[in-house]
Symmetry: D2
Subunit: 357 residues, 4 copies
């Protein structure tokens, strides 16, 4: 399995299982001279961690990031930044009931088939706990991207959707509600829905929208590493994600060219932004915006028929403390992955052309 | 620009502009011993090439692939497979009117900003002509993937949609209509719509669905290089693509876990397939299916206001022979990119575990 | 700095400075199902660690490797193997005298110029302490390479050289002397020389020879990633290495083709082995052997004139506990890097050709 | 075989066999805005091509490089630069006598074992003809490295060696003699020796020295991609190379630290240069110099016993037009590979640190 690195120049490699001793990662390629804001990193970790509100899992994990290298006297040195996040809450016993069982719509079966062995404790490597490392690294990427503003928010839960375009939303309200929805009225309904779903022992899907403002022109490396292609991969690599669209997205397929084309102003900006801030795979300076679809969490607190590794039919029921809806906690993960993509392209773009001095 | 390679072990690198002397590519990592079916490659090229029906561009490009290396006596040798596709139809004069003009929703502006120079002839590197190389390489990838069946078809044009699930469609009808729609009745409507749109000098968007059958279990390299994440990147890297969803996709966000979970049969197959053949980023042997959204072609045969490179307002009108709707010709491109993704993961999976003999 | 990864499929990424909290690394791509022999890893670490004899540095570092992921119940799971090695002996005060000083023939000046900041504590990232991670990872690579035997030994210290070809040496004697020389008589002289040099407060260079036996035929990926090219890079990336030669090496330049050609036996083996087990960049099954040149350690216990970061002339003298000769402790490092190269090519070679079944 | 790319940001991928239709390559990552000097490229190709003097092979290959993309109106556009070099002189019949025979010390046996098939025509992919692509790409890399001066010359043929240090040589004389030796007196002896060897139907080894002047400080990416490690790999990947040493090299192993350390001048330059312009894997601005060992060409015009692919003993004798000594023609190849290494590190170094403006 050599798929645990992300990025070309600003590159994150991660390790760790949900119930091993620790998770962690290495950021290679962070330029030297970046003053690291540790409080900002901690703040991002807090946004992702369990137990922060009453609509998410009540597991307790402090999720403290311990940096081991690459930072000296508060400044990045150009050497790889190694970090670990300890698993302080590994109750392996919690998972003995799934040792030989394949949970429906989890990765138990596929990991077992692919690798022939399986760390059955809480999903092992396939657990979303792995995303803690992405948030830590993304927090540093954000600091590298001075001036760029990345804002994600929950735009749907089940059938409840934010109807307003992002321009009409007040992003400062996002962190004021436990759902992280940017529309306060819809947020209240979403919170009720999630509580109701939880009572049923069930889960529900949702979607996250992300807006990136003040992006420099020129980011993205066609023809394969187009900005939106790499953003799409980044999002689709997050646990439970089923879809990605940017700019006009799937709705844009219904439009005509004469409706969809973004006409220019004389300064190179455009009158509309169906392109979603990307043309030909390269940022054009307009806002980048995209949607990410998340399926309902597979672990439900209801009895389900399933099989064990021998193919016997068994009945199982979710135990432990799981999220009834993943999107509130996934908001900082979406932002982190967006930051990793942009940081890498930002650095790559420094060598796109000869600078004549 | 170092973004012109795709894949890790089975790796394609391409070059070429729409109006240069030739396009081409190198496939590195194709295993030795593969008997190459040149007729099959040519057939794929025919599906993509212009002028094949009356609803696509009437440009004439033979798009013959000339293999220069890596194949000896009809068999791959393990050495890199180099190939070129000549541009026999470069009428550079056709494009002099856009030399200093930025076409709306094209990549003219962003390329100029990023690189400081611009090959203005027909979009240069940003032209979809580049995808000819993908189709050539994908045709070889398909041959490596013996037994795997990759089928793409047009599932919407504008507001016209195929309503039937793919299981109810007869894939053998796809190539019988110029739209490459798998539902013959809808195909007729789509064809009419495209003709109507063309008469208006306009263009229209659409979407392509793709189904991959008989996929081996175990393909995909979590956590970043998940099978669907790499498929998503592959699709989003195709010109004009705005979105990607697999399995239950965006619609799945509305479901509950109890509805969405795919329960197991005793042989490890599942009763439903909301997962779209992928669990935890690894293929589970069920059908992989996904949708790809394409925006309307940006070049329209209508007058549009735009700007030149100095920021002056100018009026322009599309010339030449362009597609009123891109999806019919994009069907083989979607298949080719899917094949490249699968071929790479197929080879990578050979080293996932120790084989005890 | 994105140069902290080594390998394509079996890939090691490392982090850590000599006086940070810990060093560590991630092995991505180790196949699942490998039973890990932790004692064997510890044994390799012991061979590299300081203080093991009276001719090496007397620093005390336990160099215990703590594995954090990727191994479950003693077996590799296919997930990335994360590990840390704590720095228990960081006496940062020891290094305050070099804070603003560039030590001659160290990396102080170049790191400061390249990165604009410098972790001055004991060389920081440029310290050979980093090689502890290579030894840990190499120990796992060795376990993957069942049947392959990698043996390195000191073949020269200063002007003292082992004259016998490796075939006449008894490798079982290597660990019997603190120099790790495979010729016991020369070993005694080398030990005396190193002690004498240390008394002078000086250091001395030397070389290491390495022999790899029972290598499968077919390892190496021409044209750039030839087996010996990657071995050369691996060795040259070790601190203090100045040269690499394999097979007939530099001496082979003096020979004629008629003398140098390795004639075949009927089973494909060769009567001689000037090729050093590699032809055209691919292993041929014969013994691979090569030599690695190490310069004298730059830190000497003598007064030297040097400059500070402002360009002022200052006088400095080495402090602390340094090796008078680096080669005895570098023997396991050479073996580890060789193992990393071979493990990667071993896996890559699994997909060189189609297996007809 | 995925080993046909070299470099990270400035990346060359090559294809082609000695007797296929054409060789070629793709340079991805060349910054836009570089004015390409085609005459300079042609001049480098002339230096490598056969038939240029009476001491090299008399084969006739025009070796014209045809650029197909990435250059518009004489300037690089940032898009990949594709190029081909036609094989105008493929006389496949010449090689029918080796179809089933493994030539001693060639790659016939290892390619056949690794790939199961073999393009037997003239060595196929393992032929040094492949290096033509390296020279073409290296010529562009040289143009990117404005101000840097890369000079290689033959420093030994058999036992004849240039004794003078490079500082005492007049590099302007190198191209005045067919051997490309920088010492005119030794050059005459070398020429005689090569002619004598050729008369015997034999071949002889030699070595090339290379000096790189005016290198910017800061190139190289520790810890694995050290400047000299990548240079070493680059050189060892050239056909027939058996060894690499830089700075004090193997001779430096005999020195003491007090002799070998390069003391600083107050401007950061050093009084001596045993380090060979590289400290800790990063260029320090001093001259980089290194030696490369080449074995004698394996094809000799004498009868040799060998085996066929069935293991039968057969007698063979070299035919055709081969070099009696490879080093004169390898001089531009050494320079080209050095240029590729430096160009890549030059671009990578642009993102080593945050630029405060």
């Amino acid at each position: 399995m050599a798929g645990n690195s992300f990025g070309t120049v600003f590159k994150l490699t991660t390790f760790g299982e949900s119930h091993g001793e620790a998770l962690g990662g290495i950021i290679d390629g962070c330029p030297a001279g970046l003053t690291i804001d540790f409080k900002a990193i901690e703040a991002e970790m807090q946004r992702r961690k369990p137990g922060q509100s009453n609509i998410v899992t009540q597991r307790k994990e402090p999720d403290t990031v311990k940096f081991l290298s690459g930072i000296f006297e508060g400044v990045s040195t150009g050497s790889p930044i190694g970090f670990v996040i300890e698993n302080t809450n590994q109750k392996s016993k919690d998972y003995s009931h799934i040792k030989d069982t394949y949970r429906p719509s989890h990765a138990d079966y596929t990991y077992d088939q692919k690798y022939g062995v399986r760390d059955y404790r809480g999903g092992g490597r396939s657990s979303a706990r792995e995303t803690a490392c992405r948030v830590a690294a993304g927090a540093i990427a954000k600091q590298l991207l001075k001036g760029v503003k990345i804002t994600a928010y929950v735009s749907s839960v089940g059938s409840l959707e934010v109807q307003k375009p992002y321009q009409e939303l007040d992003f400062s309200t996002i962190e004021n509600n436990p759902v992280r929805c940017a529309d306060p009225d819809v947020a209240i309904q979403m919170e009720s829905l999630i509580k109701e779903i939880r009572k049923q022992g069930d889960t529900v899907g949702g979607s996250i929208s992300c807006v990136i403002q003040h992006v420099p022109v020129g980011l993205g490396e066609p023809v394969f590493d187009k900005l939106h292609a790499q953003l799409g991969k980044a999002m689709l690599s997050i646990n439970a994600v089923k879809g990605f669209e940017y700019g006009s997205g799937f709705a844009g397929t219904r439009l005509k060219g004469s409706e969809h084309n973004d006409l220019f102003n004389s300064d190179g900006t455009t009158k509309t932004n169906y392109s979603g801030g990307v043309q030909g795979g390269i940022s054009n300076g307009a806002d980048i915006y995209f949607n990410v679809a998340f399926k309902p969490v597979a672990t439900i607190m209801q009895k389900q028929d399933t099989i064990d590794s021998k193919g016997n039919q068994v009945e199982m029921e979710g135990k432990g403390r799981h999220d009834p809806c993943v999107v509130p906690r996934a908001v900082p993960i979406v932002e982190a992955m967006a930051a990793l993509v942009l940081a890498d392209f930002y650095l790559l773009n420094k060598v796109s052309k000869i600078e004549h001095t």
